[in-house]
Symmetry: C2
Subunit: 79 residues, 2 copies
DNA sequence: GGCGATTTGTACGTATGTATT
DNA sequence: CAATACATACGTACAAATCGC
């Protein structure tokens, strides 16, 4: 279940595409608990580190993940 | 009532300093209704445009301002 | 309606700081 | 102490919305 790389011509902004695709992958159970590092995701999605961070912020606001400095980003147990 | 430029050695992060100082100036009634442009504020505060944007975001979350693309940023009528 | 000027929005790449392992 | 990972900050470029002429 690989990442769907960001489409620069897509209707949505890159960071929204990232957030939506990560949400899809999380929903599919791809990340049991911990997500790859932000830099690794940037490579996977073919976009900038800062764009990944914008997407992650969206997911935090959606309540899907929790991020801790120096540790990583984790899938939030349901709710 | 000039801006208090960002202090790189301050306890708070630059973007928090910006937000706090703008809140102070808003409270003092310096901006009747419209704030200077983000780029102008960046010059005033001696920091990057993107840092101003982070501070503005904080102020939006605090409910103090409203921002509209192409128009500008406005002081929110109390509530 | 067009055009340019202004202003906010998104995106990039990089550097450095801070926390955890 | 070193490696890893997130956080902040910078500067730049271009896109998109708005406004005035």
């Amino acid at each position: 279940m690989p990442a769907r790389p960001v489409d620069p011509l897509g209707d949505d902004y890159a960071y929204v595409q990232v957030a939506d695709d990560l949400e899809r992958r999380i929903g599919a159970g791809e990340f049991a608990e911990k997500l790859p590092s932000e830099r690794a995701l940037a490579e996977e999605y073919g976009c900038a580190y800062t764009t990944i961070r914008q997407g992650m912020k969206l997911l935090r606001e959606r309540g899907l993940i929790v991020t801790r400095q120096g540790r990583g980003t984790y899938v939030r147990k349901q709710r």
